[in-house]
């Protein structure tokens, strides 16, 4: 796993007896938009701080363009971090904040001025150049923090929960904006986030971490369609699970019925297993040929505008199945709470995990 702009080789970080990052290896490619995703406490922020140089790895190496930078202090790394709190200098104007990093490089003042002006234009901050940080809105502060890091043209830009402090609507806009900016400046971005939707929308590739360990690293599509384990499956998007034991043709549920699917390698017949299916892969009132079908009771209906989410209680699992259908499809069949319905999905849409 070498040859990327940034190679993480078997990196471990211990804080006393706690292992925050446990033997993680990743290779991040040039110009990639990479997401480190995981629940809080999974070690993603610690990993990011090691990439920035604020923490030293307890083991393993961090290579930047092939050179070991594990012990290089943050001020000597061509890597910049956009802080979750933005960490803008409160006593400096927007322009001075952005110019700071270039002043540290001792660039000629004419160059600093032109590069700062250019960055102010790129991030649409020109009108706010003379304001102090406390005169800015959350979204504006976020753009200043971004501009301040980007103006140095780092090899890699690290972003710690960049959209965490913004409200939901603005977050959606900024996801697209970040993506556009990354395209425009052509810099490798590594984003830490706990928001799986954010990672799916923005990232070219993503790594899912849990308890300091890397569970899966792939494109959002692959991670969504072929999750490495039950945790990833449940963490990325919504997944319906059905516990049972593995058999040759799928999973035998606790009530004795079979959930048909392809058994992956590494799961022996008879072992406890989880069958899983995405809500959008389940159809209500399936055609006669569906490999998996069961009947259940509609427990709840949740209308989300574009789609309708139907909670169906079945004998297959403890929790009701979540079925997602378009609102139009729902209109053609009037479904009410308490109705008995049939649900079904094809064997190819079943994912089977170790439990």
């Amino acid at each position: 796993m070498t040859g990327g702009v940034l190679d993480i080789e078997g990196v471990t970080k211990n804080f006393g007896r706690l292992t925050a990052v446990d033997d993680v290896s990743l290779s991040i490619r040039e110009n990639e938009f990479f997401a480190l995703l995981g629940p809080s406490g999974c070690g993603k922020t610690t990993l990011l701080r090691m990439l920035a140089g604020f923490e030293m790895p307890s083991g393993g190496k961090i290579l930047l363009d092939g050179a070991d930078v594990s012990r290089v202090p943050p001020n000597r790394r061509p890597v910049n971090l956009m802080f979750q709190s933005y960490a803008l200098f409160p006593h400096m104007s927007v322009r001075a904040n952005i110019a700071y990093g270039l002043e540290m490089e001792r660039r000629p003042s004419a160059e600093i001025r032109s590069r700062v002006d250019e960055m102010l234009a790129t991030t649409q901050l020109a009108a706010l150049a003379d304001r102090k940080p406390d005169q800015l809105s959350g979204g504006q502060k976020q753009r200043v923090a971004l501009a301040r890091a980007l103006v140095k043209r780092p090899r890699v830009l690290l972003l710690d929960e960049p959209l965490g402090a913004l409200d939901k609507k603005l977050r959606g806009e900024m996801q697209i904006e970040l993506k556009r900016l990354q395209d425009e400046v052509g810099i490798t971005f590594i984003v830490v986030t706990h928001d799986q939707e954010e990672a799916l929308v923005m990232a070219d590739r993503m790594a899912v971490l849990r308890d300091g360990r890397l569970l899966q690293c792939d494109t959002p599509h692959e991670v969504y369609e072929r999750p490495a384990d039950a945790f990833v499956a449940g963490f990325i998007g919504v997944m319906n699970f059905c516990a049972g034991s593995a058999v040759a043709e799928g999973v035998r549920a606790s009530d004795g019925s079979l959930v048909a699917g392809t058994l992956p390698q590494g799961i022996a017949a008879g072992a406890p297993a989880l069958a899983a299916v995405r809500p959008e892969r389940i159809v209500l009132f399936p055609a006669a040929g569906a490999a998996n079908r069961t009947s259940g009771t509609v427990e709840a209906l949740a209308y989300h505008g574009l789609d309708l989410q139907v909670h169906v209680r079945t004998p297959l699992a403890d929790k009701p199945f979540l079925v997602r259908m378009t609102a139009d499809a729902a209109d053609s069949r009037s479904i009410r709470t308490g109705d008995t319905v049939e649900i079904g999905w094809s064997a190819a849409d079943t994912r089977i995990f170790k439990s």
């Binding site: 140089g53 202090p73 910049n80 802080f83 006593h91 406390d134």
Partner: protein, 264 residues
């Protein structure tokens, strides 16, 4: 009900007036007498600034004033530098426990007379010739604690991530301190320095014990004390008024700076 509460309010106001009268009438009298033409504390014979003029020609007082200024400036400078660094050091590694904190605050709490005797024994044990320099060192001891306390109060709300941001953008530790940390906490540093300055200007006990023999290291409070043994002269009133004015102005600036910071 309403009547009784009005009465209560009136008596409350009366108590307040009495308390403030108790606190400030003596000072007001002193200030007034310093402008009394005649010089007798019992008779007002007209407004005059003659005592201030005669003060300016009293060599003893002038040299004591100069000594006080030297001690205050020197001890404030040293205490501000060390106290600020100490405050930053403590706040950066606050999780290390509170023993260090208690040690830092001790000089604020230990009675002056104890500190004075301790310092006197310490200096004589080391066989140091005492003079202005020992007063300066002694004043650094308590001023350090006060500067440290004021700066730490500001650092409690300091966002340390901006120092990391500075390092991330390429600044060395020293540059980060100079361009980021210090400008942000500067109002507190100045407030601490002004407080230290006023404490040093009117400090008597510790200076008295650590000044050593000879007139050359007499400070203003010591000078006033020695003059007062021959009775209160209007000159002393004038001198006290000046000392008080300097202290009040410095404290007012210090408090304004502290209050201004809360807004940030």
């Amino acid at each position: 009900m309403a009547e009784r509460s009005a009465a209560a309010r009136r008596s409350g106001t009366a108590v307040l007036v009495l308390v403030f009268a108790f606190l400030y009438v003596p000072i007001a009298v002193l200030v007034a007498l310093s402008f009394n033409e005649g010089g007798l504390p019992t008779v007002w014979s007209g407004f005059s600034t003659r005592w201030y003029v005669s003060l300016a020609s009293n060599q003893d007082i002038l040299s004591a004033a100069l000594n006080t200024l030297v001690v205050a400036v020197a001890s404030t400078a040293i205490a501000t530098l060390l106290g600020t660094l100490l405050a930053i050091g403590i706040e950066m590694r606050r999780r290390r426990g509170t023993v260090l904190e208690a040690l830092v605050f001790a000089p604020m709490i230990i009675p002056d007379i104890v500190l004075a005797v301790a310092l006197l024994s310490f200096f004589s044990m080391l066989d140091v010739t005492m003079g202005l320099h020992t007063i300066v060192l002694a004043h650094v001891v308590f001023n350090l604690a006060f500067v440290c306390a004021v700066v730490r109060a500001r650092l409690k709300s300091f966002d340390w991530s901006i120092t990391e941001a500075s390092a991330d953008l390429g600044a060395s530790a020293l540059t980060t301190f100079r361009r980021v940390t210090l400008p942000v906490i500067l109002p507190a540093v100045i407030a601490g320095a002004l407080l230290a300055f006023t404490l040093s200007v009117d400090e008597f006990i510790i200076a008295f014990f650590t000044a050593g023999a000879g007139r050359s290291s007499t400070t203003l409070p010591m000078q006033i004390y020695s003059m007062i043994r021959f009775g209160i002269t209007p000159e002393i009133n004038a001198l006290a008024t000046i000392v008080m004015a300097v202290s009040v102005i410095a404290l007012a600036i210090s408090q304004r700076l502290n209050r201004g910071m809360v807004g940030q």
